[in-house]
Symmetry: C2
Subunit: 355 residues, 2 copies
Amino acid sequence: MSNKKPTTLVIGAGLIGTSIAMGLVKAGYDVFIDDSDVSANDLASARSQAKKFAGQIVDLVVVATPPSAVAQVIREALNTQPTAVVTDVASVKGSILTALKDLDQEQLSRIVGGHPMAGREVSGAAGAQNNLFVDRSWVVTKLAQTSPSAVDLVQQMISDLGAVPVDRDVDAHDQTVALISHTPQIIASVLAGELVDAKDHEVELAGQGLRDTIRIASSDAKLWSDILSGNAKHVASRISSIATQLTNVAKALESGDQNSISEMLKRGSVGRDRLPGKHGTAAKLDSQIVVRLEDKPGELARLFAAAAAANVNLEDVRIDHSLGRMTGLVELTVAQDKREVLITALSSADFVVVN
Amino acid sequence: MSNKKPTTLVIGAGLIGTSIAMGLVKAGYDVFIDDSDVSANDLASARSQAKKFAGQIVDLVVVATPPSAVAQVIREALNTQPTAVVTDVASVKGSILTALKDLDQEQLSRIVGGHPMAGREVSGAAGAQNNLFVDRSWVVTKLAQTSPSAVDLVQQMISDLGAVPVDRDVDAHDQTVALISHTPQIIASVLAGELVDAKDHEVELAGQGLRDTIRIASSDAKLWSDILSGNAKHVASRISSIATQLTNVAKALESGDQNSISEMLKRGSVGRDRLPGKHGTAAKLDSQIVVRLEDKPGELARLFAAAAAANVNLEDVRIDHSLGRMTGLVELTVAQDKREVLITALSSADFVVVN
């Protein structure tokens, strides 16, 4: 592999595809972008400076279409691009490979699976950013037939986007996303579904806990139906296990078995503490600092200015204030090793650090 | 009832008790505070300016102890304070009343149940604030025997704390909190418990969706075991229903019934959309605005300053940025009627509003 960057075609001008195009253009790649939605393609091309695709022969194809289309688009790309390595960004890998198992050895040697672990708070090219993948994990799955040079090419692309390539077996990856992503989606959706028939006077009293627990229930039903169906076996197994546990919790409540309830809660707390820092690259200890803001205008802005002046990056911010008033408690999440620096800086700036 | 504020004893110097004491002192009440934990009592008294209790006779007692102690503390207060109205702040009402059903008519006439719907991000007197209840709902439950003047006294106290008294039947209240608070707690805890046996390489890939969904699994197991046991019947019923639904989801996944999966997801989205504005007073439409921040120091501080200058209060802030970098997408939640004002202000300040 020479040092020359591979000419790359990105298929799919959504958030992920456009962000990849933007990042690769910035990294010096010659990039084409293609989407059957003309206006999405126009926007993605304008934002990324990637050229519109018109049948050119490329070295690398990145398939960033909706998941249900990925296998077919990979198949077509392998045919129309006779020497290109073809990778994708779908969040389930096994079902795609199953759909492609009739391919010949030469074509299979050019397939490298990929899954960037990047947030998708928004969809579409408008939300894309060239640094979306910086410091994020990007899972790479290879087949027995995948050629080492194909893997090298995709890993280099991932590194050029600032992300961290992480090798996984196909099945291990799908089991992992069943646990950390697909099962939570179902749990949140089913719980949120309980609100459909709730009375107004009930939902009116809901607070932040419920809001956080069901936040991801707003996810796109079409996209997620595809994703879950593509990982059905692993997800069904987790969901069945949780259903059994919940049945046992209900029994414990009915029988007054407070010990079982307590153990269930403690176990949840232990599990919660296993989460690493935000966005999941290497495990990283975070620390929460709660600051009480006075009821004065501009205090939140002053708080962030103080954190920035102390050169402390905030991993997360949660505001717990009264409706319509910018006052109350603000929870800042920072890396453990920045905790004391930030507390000192905030105290010097006359903020009240609660804990 | 005269306009003179009732002399009030707050029992329990945690976050809620201390915040009540602080708010009542500020509202001109003569307030005593009492906690068997001497250092908590010292801190609460110092922060609130409430006097330490030494057997004085009062007009109103507010019981803010851990839930398992509430019934007994109410019972004692009715005895030692022969004319006082006694209220509490426990999040389950029915089980407390059941424990007090042997009281005589006179004592029952002085009991008013209460449940302030205030966030509890932190615990302890250190996190207390005199405005914790401002604009929050505060459920009031009365018995058949409760005297109207006792209800008036408690409703006046709630109003004096800036909160909004909301009348509810005892059973309706307990059913509501089973739905909006107790069931989500169990769901989050059981889901988080799945991480206990996860491999490091699995949790390393977890992202913000899982983090939000299980955030409340960090709740105190002792406190929550008490709460759940106190509302066992209603909670068990919800949990059983969810267990059944999850079993059906697992079956649908196994049989490839994508239509059922899609319906489940859509129902979740509809349920999610029923949530009102933060902190649940009156239903209130919120709007999310996503801003893309450039990779420059201090942009977050500048963003909040711009919002403050436009006189727009932020209901919530979510930061979706790369680990260790203060750049990326920021989601601001504002009241629907402030959306355009904020977008205009941010655009004028050269921020890129994504959607």
